[in-house]
Symmetry: C2
Subunit: 174 residues, 2 copies
DNA sequence: TCCCAGTCTGCGGATTTCGCAGTTATGGGA
DNA sequence: TCCCATAACTGCGAAATCCGCAGACTGGGA
């Protein structure tokens, strides 16, 4: 039954456009690793043997690949919740405009524990940051006293969450 | 096998104001369950026995509570990645303004596989939606042909992702 | 007081994880 | 082309974990 071995490594094209991605040294996962990630996006606790059966590898091989993906930071296996249902009362997306290099601003945001998500964007905001707080006072404090005073920050605009409708991590499976 | 459940939580079928819930089924997990969630936010594969030691319960009790949290849709255990590092080339946040009831618009967005995140907000956008696509054409198609034509949608504004700086799921631990 | 539903504990048996040694494939370099 | 170093995969036994179940405990409500 080895007639159909999955092209496991560099035998496969691995996408011609991946020439630039030298950023953090984390290479593009190949097709098999993507399949493993998909399995774990469906159920983060799925046994390695079951994953192996699905992607055509032995249990040990899956285990080694998962460990490598975790070590490289390509993937994390975690519990996710809707913060609004577990005690956090105020959540907001904040659009930020800043002068000059955005990196220091983004790094400062990243360092804040209330900030869960930071992304640099093209468009009328330079940075989007998602904030999770316990109440209005807390939220106001973070935005007003900690974000708006960061060097370079020119303006902010806040979008307070009213209801989370969808939160998926299964983009690979469609 | 494992619990194949977990998946079908996207549309949030539960009404937040539902009246009948015995005790623990409430939208507010108790302190012990929150502690369990925190453990699993650090490592989604942490053994039940280790969690039990950390929160002061037996292995079996932890297992039962985790299963209930999963069944209730309070929490999911999944693999998360930065889509930009695993093959998806274009990602964007889209701010949407619409007329009248926003629910149908939000539901339509929720039904789209490229839409990973939908939240109704207060502020100059009514809805924020995060979109994951394979390339520019795909992204344009989703925004232009599928979102902007939804009944009630008045306008959209897109923020294309340049670099994801932070993505955390450990708000509980601080 | 009795009953009931919900939760916890303890405990085997089944399953999974883990570490390791051996084998195979890949990519250069001489 | 040959050969070696590295990386990846497999198989397997031991240890750890998961899982289902039965019994005990608890806090209301009738």
């Amino acid at each position: 039954m080895h007639s159909e071995r999955v092209a496991s490594r560099s035998a496969e094209p691995r996408d011609p456009r991946d020439s630039r991605e030298p950023r953090n040294g984390s290479p593009q996962p190949d097709a098999v690793s993507l399949a493993i990630i998909e399995q774990l996006q469906e159920d983060g606790r799925r046994p390695y043997a079951a994953i192996g059966k699905a992607v055509g590898l032995s249990e040990a091989a899956v285990r080694q690949r998962v460990q490598k993906l975790l070590d490289q930071g390509v993937m994390q296996i975690v519990a996710v919740t809707d913060p609004l249902t577990v005690g956090f009362r105020r959540q907001a997306m904040v659009g930020i405009n800043a002068d000059g290099d955005l990196e220091p601003v983004a790094d400062a945001l990243t360092a804040m524990p209330e900030v869960e998500y930071v992304v640099m964007t093209a468009g009328s905001f330079d940075i989007l940051a998602e904030i999770v707080c316990e109440d209005d006072d807390h939220l106001l404090d973070v935005i007003n006293k900690r974000i708006r005073v960061l060097p370079g920050v020119r303006s902010t605009e806040s979008f307070v969450y009213l209801k989370l409708k969808k939160q998926t991590y299964m983009w690979g499976t469609r």
